[in-house]
């Protein structure tokens, strides 16, 4: 039996944060129905990214929405809203990522939905929470990275504040809402009661920084200073960082400096024998090391370091990565098919259950593709039709 078999999730959310959560829930076996606006649907369908499209829709939409169904409904149309409410009466989870007030205006806020389905799990992601002066601002990934201090943690200190190049806020908020939904679903099996689960992107990106923020709260509120040389973490001592060799880059994690000096035959590094200096003088140490590592290719250094169990690795881009046996053996690439027969290669769920990878070959839905099937499955009727007959 799948982990979430017979769990029905109505997902009103768009873009990435909410949909990435419902993707994981669908991987675990839930039935996920995207409730989308007729005509346009999830705005992510048209998010024009990198000029790469599949079936006129972005590759990103296909990655985020595989293995889901689509039900098109105009929530401002009383007839469509009536049908959606019938679906809600049979659902376990309702989730959305609209700005505060939107679901209230439609009449699908938590209190209203609870009237329809008293044990509903109602989950919402906001940008900045439901109170405070920023509550109506758009919850956008780069902007959340920028206001939360995160951009002062990556890259060298002569560089501008540097955002992380993946939508880390959306994805973390998605994992947090998924965790809250799952905990609430478990709680319901014990108590019989539903709950309201709320996550904001702001809280999620603060939680992500919990180790270093706690340091800041307790060290007299000293701001982090990124290293000047090969900076990889503002709070970690030399040699932690990426180094250019005479061909490719290599990564060095936490390591004893004199040991490293000995192994690499780096005489000038030997003077840094006091471990207290490894943080305080990290830029000097890393400069010495960086100069030394330029002399030989990556494979030469890695050969020496790996043999001595030093924490090191090659730095790969996607072209390098996909050629590696270690990558191919993971079977991380899967191919799903849309109803139009288009194949899309994407990544699978990273969680294995009972020794099996979780995989479904179903691609992302067309807008409104499943209206009929869903109405049939759940016995949804048209109120106005019913009255006129």
């Amino acid at each position: 039996m799948k982990l979430l078999e017979n769990i029905l999730i109505l997902d009103f959310s768009q873009f990435l944060s909410g949909p990435s959560a419902s993707l994981r829930l669908s991987d675990m076996g839930a039935q996920v129905i995207k409730i989308e606006k007729p005509g346009t649907g999830d705005i992510c369908r048209e998010l024009y990214v990198s000029d790469v499209m599949i079936e006129g829709e972005s590759t990103i939409f296909h990655a985020i929405n595989r293995n889901k169904q689509s039900y098109a409904a105009d929530l401002k149309d009383p007839d469509d809203l009536f049908k959606v409410k019938q679906l809600i009466k049979q659902a376990d989870v309702v989730m959305h990522n609209f700005r505060p007030g939107v679901m209230e205006r439609i009449g699908l806020d938590y209190e209203a939905v609870k009237q329809l389905k008293p044990d509903i799990i109602y989950a919402e992601i906001s940008g900045y929470g439901t109170e405070g002066p920023w509550k109506d601002l758009p919850g956008q990934d780069l902007l959340l990275q920028s206001v939360s201090g995160l951009t002062w943690l990556s890259n060298n200190n002569n560089e501008n504040p540097t955002p992380m190049g993946v939508a880390v806020v959306d994805i973390l908020a998605g994992t947090h809402i998924a965790q809250g939904i799952l905990a609430a679903l478990y709680g319901k099996t014990v108590s019989g009661e539903g709950s309201l689960v709320q996550v904001s992107m702001f809280e999620s990106i603060l939680d992500f920084q919990f180790e270093v923020l706690t340091c800041y709260y307790n060290d007299g509120r000293q701001l982090p200073v990124r290293g000047a040389v090969n900076s990889a973490h503002a709070y970690i001592a030399a040699p932690y960082g990426l180094y250019k060799t005479n061909d490719n880059y290599i990564a060095l994690a936490m390591t004893n400096i004199p040991t490293l000096a000995e192994l690499l035959g780096c005489e000038p590094l030997k003077q840094f024998s006091d471990s207290n200096d490894w943080f305080a003088r990290r830029d000097e140490i890393k400069k010495v090391l960086a100069d030394h590592l330029q002399q030989q290719p990556a494979a030469y250094w890695l050969g020496i370091l790996e043999a001595a169990d030093i924490w090191c690795a090659p730095v790969l881009d996607y072209d390098d990565l996909v050629k590696e046996e270690g990558y191919r053996l993971l079977d991380m690439e899967v191919t799903v098919k849309t109803s139009k027969g288009i194949s899309v290669t994407t990544t699978r769920c990273p969680v294995k259950v009972d020794g099996q990878i979780l995989f479904s070959a179903t691609g992302a839905p067309l807008l409104g593709e499943h209206n009929e099937a869903i109405e049939k499955q759940f016995g949804i009727s048209n109120q106005l039709q019913g009255l006129s007959e």
Partner: protein, 378 residues
């Protein structure tokens, strides 16, 4: 719902450093009783890992951050007597988490098959570095190394920079998050079937999943996504997405129509580009924009952009952030009472249930602080 959803669930955490313990922390905040199983005397290795040389007691502030709201039981797994006690705990527990290298739990007779034989209802959850087969299975599962091997370091920084890592342990945190999801799914199924589950996550797979948008795009074109050379925000995105200098600091500008932007900030040179060139000519567009934005203060630009409904924000450090009313309204900081009457401040769980924040004053345990009490109850 009254009380926390995981009330009554017991988690045994055989884990060290961040990935496994961050999962244990989330489960604890959601109401589970989390017992760290640690080596006698020294405890888990993370106790001695400090940043900025900050210590609370014999354990670092970092350890206290990750392990608050847990108990500690010490056992030498190579001692038959201790192992019997641990197996008795296993018989009564609901969840077991470990993040040791693949063969370590097996050597102690605590691999999934052995644990399942003791307790068929157990949710057995493990994190490895690179999976359990293949040429990388014995490589150290360390965050920076995983970032380096998964292509992640070519997403951040400008195209003329070398590879730039994320300055936070993203692989550990993502793997911990995925593990929590698997564990909770296992607990939900167990309520219906009465059987446990075996949940496996690796740092590698978690970090590939994290890049799923970029990788799916890569699989479609088989072309390495390129970082822009100017103000790179995300390799797949068009101009103006990125962070720019202003006269007094920086400004973050997200996705928007470049012609609307041109009119809003009075930058006619941006009009020389077609909207359809926002990706293909993003470096030229961003260069023009950067030269314009540096002439005025951040607040000047933000007023114009926000009035037009465009997506832009300040770029703040933590001092600026914590002074914001919007930050204070979150109530994200909580005080923890640690030993000897001291207090530390840390962040709380980011999830709210039924409108309430999940707070806990319980500090991280001393090594074996709960061993005697737990033994009495076995």
């Amino acid at each position: 719902m009254n009380g926390l959803p995981l009330q009554g669930i017991t988690v045994l955490e055989f884990s060290q450093y961040l990935s496994g313990p961050s999962a244990g922390l989330r489960l604890a905040d959601l109401g589970a009783r989390v017992i760290k199983i640690e080596r006698p005397v020294v405890g888990e290795a993370g106790r001695k890992l400090a940043i900025k040389d900050l210590w609370v007691d014999e354990s670092s502030l970092l350890f206290h951050t990750i392990n608050r709201n847990k108990e500690s039981f010490t056992a030498n797994l190579k001692d038959p007597g201790d192992l019997i006690l641990v197996k008795k705990l296993i018989a009564k527990a609901d969840v077991l988490i470990h993040n040791f290298r693949p063969e370590v739990m097996g050597k102690n007779g605590l691999d999934y098959a052995a644990v399942k034989a003791i307790n068929p209802r157990m949710i057995y959850a493990e994190i490895s570095g690179y999976g359990k087969t293949g040429p990388w299975k014995n490589k150290p599962g360390q965050d920076l190394l995983l970032q380096s091997m998964t292509g992640l370091t070519y997403t951040t920084g400008n195209g003329n920079n070398g590879p730039v890592p994320f300055g936070i342990s993203i692989a550990d945190i993502m793997a911990g998050s995925q593990l929590v999801q698997g564990i909770l799914g296992g607990l939900i199924r167990r309520q219906k079937t009465g059987t446990g589950a075996w949940i496996e996550v690796s740092l590698m797979e978690s970090l590939l999943d994290f890049q799923f948008e970029l990788l799916t795009t890569y699989y479609t074109t088989r072309q390495q996504p390129k970082r822009s050379h100017v103000a790179n925000g995300q390799p797949l995105l068009s101009a103006p997405y990125g962070i720019y200098d202003t006269a007094d600091g920086h400004i973050a500008i997200a996705m928007m129509d470049i012609h609307v932007l041109a009119d809003t900030i009075g930058c006619s040179a941006l009009r020389d580009f077609e909207k359809s060139e926002a990706f293909s000519k993003r470096d030229e567009i961003k260069t023009v924009l950067a030269a314009h934005l540096v002439n005025q203060h951040t607040d000047y630009w933000l007023d114009l952009l926000h009035d037009a409904g465009l997506w832009a924000m300040h770029v703040q450090n933590w001092e600026e952030m914590t002074n914001e009313e919007a930050y204070q309204a979150l109530g994200m900081e909580q005080e923890i009472d640690v030993a000897s009457g001291k207090k530390i401040i840390t962040t709380r769980c980011p999830i709210r249930l039924d409108g309430k924040r999940l707070l806990s004053k319980r500090p991280a345990p001393g090594v074996g602080a709960d061993t005697e009490r737990i033994k009495e109850n076995i």
